[in-house]
Amino acid sequence: MHENLIDVRDLKKYYPVTGGVFRRRIADVKAVDGVDLAMRKGECLGLVGESGCGKTTLGKTILRLQTATAGRIYFGQDGGKVEEVEAMLHSADAQARARAGAMLKGMDLNRMSGRNLLALRQRIQIVFQDPTNSLDPRMLVKHIVAEPLTAQRLVKTRDVDARVRELLGIVGLTADHLMRYPHEFSGGQRQRIAIARALATNPQFILMDEPTSALDVSVQAQILNLLKRLQEEFRLTYLFVTHHLLVVKYISNRIAVMYLGRIAEMGPTAEIFARPLHPYTKALLSAIPVPDPETKREKIILTGDVPNPINPPAGCRFHPRCAHVREICRTVEPQLESVDGGERKVACHRWREL
């Protein structure tokens, strides 16, 4: 069995909506609503979905930039131990559940604080979408890249400079760039700086939050290749959040498709592209432009918008926009089930027939 680096169980992130004179909580925006996700060491998992489906929120919750409303996030925990705790959590015995709760304090990223959390920050990093926003405009490149090292005092002060030079070399920049401000760089170079910063602490896992979306197409390819090279070189694990399917096809081993706070379908990249099972995935894939004008394809055009995450539709979340809707879809919420007994999973009542 593969060792999971990250194991997300039943994760929920609700944002309260307040109203009235007393700012009472009147509803929740259910940005992430019950996600199970496991990531193996060294893989790149592509998380795709349209705007507002909760993919970025899911990523930021895993990074603990936001604290989840419910659910567990295991990072670098022993698989057997995770199963044991999960079993205890779901057992009927109240005492066992209490004991599991105590154990979770040291295991669940979502419950960690202080020193434990700080130690994990070394192993988890992030690269943001827009490098103009993610680099402090008032800081020199030298200090930006060194920040994770100096903030946690991981490296002796006199060694910081050498490490920063090394990092810049890794991402294809030179020591000339040390004493400059971010505004003196192009978009691609800025993203390289952001990547160098993410690598500074030698992390195991990097969340890529649409790292190429803000860049020119020509630069996108360079950055993607750089990311791929780094992944192999440092045996990194990526969670690659994007809405760009071809980027995901290029870089990911596996894909998870998100719709309205839940995972609709997941599996190995090649299989998803070859044989999408969920109607939503089919619609997404059919929207990829084909460079050959002669090819005639059936395009699935989705009607309507993503429903309001404050009040998601009953039953299958996709049913108001689905062409194959049946009575069961309106009432019963489909669970993510394995298609081939393995890692190919889909949450649809009718995947067998379609």
């Binding site: 930021k60 990074l63 930039l65 700080l118 920050r121 070394q122 988890i124 990093q125 992030i126 943001f128 979408q129 827009d130 926003n133 993610s134 680099l135 402090d136 405009p137 008032r138 800081m139 020199l140 920040e147 994770p148 903030a151 946690q152 030179t174 020591a175 000339d176 004493m179 400059r180 401000y181 505004h183 952001a194 910063r197 500074a200 602490t201």
Partner: protein
């Protein structure tokens, strides 16, 4: 590698220095900024050289010497180059030493307000929630009471004098600084580089001091430089109303208040006492104008929308 080291030798200047030079260049490009700066420098020199220009005769140099108690102001003469005010206080002496008082009031009030504003604004903006609510509602209360009414009440409570004016202005002005810096911090707090710093394991203090404040300081610095002049005006207004320093203190507002009875002149000659009104008024205007021009210049130089990035 050879060419790289060469390049570095060509560009030996530290980037911070480079930025400062760039700022200075932009500043000097505008003639109005230069005029503003010159005015302030001239006033500064006068304030510093006050003991040389007008050697004090009293034990307390801030007491204007007066030649007799005659009520009627006397026009400029050899003994009093700018004339005297009511009760024969020497105008020139008062204005020269008054420059010191003006800088004291302006700089002290604005510096204290900056400090209070930055601390409270940072707390409110960064932590939000109940802290924000409490601080900003107190600020609202200050906004709700008419300025002069509150100022008078406070002066009465504290007691007259230059010190009282300074304290009152600090108490009454901090809410506007706090508001400005809070709103800038709210904007900066949402930026990705703050999240990146958090993901890097930076502490709250580190994030506030090395990321948020350097990026959120501009508006409040602009406000401060514009406000030094306004503060002097307000202090003068308080003095004019008889709430400022004691009679005979070298303070511009005080000198203006001494002219209150002579603004109209005599029945035959409306401008009989022009000097006692015009001269201190002109000096105050120049001082305030200097700070306003300087404040505008600071805005032009620092406003991120006008800067190149």
């Amino acid at each position: 590698m050879e060419t790289r080291t060469d390049q570095r030798q060509l560009r030996p200047m530290h980037p911070r220095l480079r930025e400062m030079l760039f700022t200075a260049k932009r500043f000097l490009r505008n003639p109005l900024s230069v005029i503003g700066l010159s005015l302030i420098v001239i006033f500064g020199v006068i304030a510093i050289l006050a003991p040389v220009l007008e050697p004090p005769t009293n034990r307390d140099p801030y007491k204007i010497p007066h030649n007799g108690y005659r009520i009627e102001p006397s026009p400029p003469s050899a003994a009093h180059p700018l004339g005297t005010t009511q009760q024969q206080y020497d105008m020139l002496y008062g204005l020269v030493w008054g420059a010191r008082s003006a800088f004291k009031i302006g700089v002290l009030v604005v510096a204290a307000n900056l400090l209070i504003g930055i601390i409270l604004g940072a707390l409110a903006g960064y932590f939000g929630g109940i802290v924000d609510e409490v601080i900003m509602r107190i600020a609202d209360i200050f906004y709700a009471i008419p300025f002069l009414v509150m100022a008078m009440a406070l002066v009465v409570a504290i007691g007259r004098g230059l010190k009282a004016v300074i304290i009152v202005l600090i108490i009454l002005e901090w809410p506007s600084y706090t508001r400005v810096i809070r709103s800038d911090i709210l904007v900066t707090r949402g930026k990705d580089f703050i999240l990146a710093a958090r993901a890097s394991g930076a502490s709250h203090l580190r994030i506030i001091f090395s990321h948020i404040l350097p990026n959120a300081m501009y508006s409040v610095l602009i406000l401060a430089s514009l406000n030094i002049g306004t503060t002097i005006l307000t202090a003068a207004a308080l003095s004019f109303l008889g709430l400022g320093s004691e009679t005979g203190t070298a303070d511009w507002g005080q000198i203006v208040s001494l002219c209150r009875n002579w603004i109209v002149g005599t029945p035959g000659n409306r401008f009989a006492y022009w000097y006692t009104v015009f001269i201190p008024g002109f000096v105050i205007s120049l001082f305030v104008l200097g700070w306003n021009l300087l404040g505008d210049a600071v805005r032009d130089v620092f406003d991120p929308r006008m800067r190149r990035r």
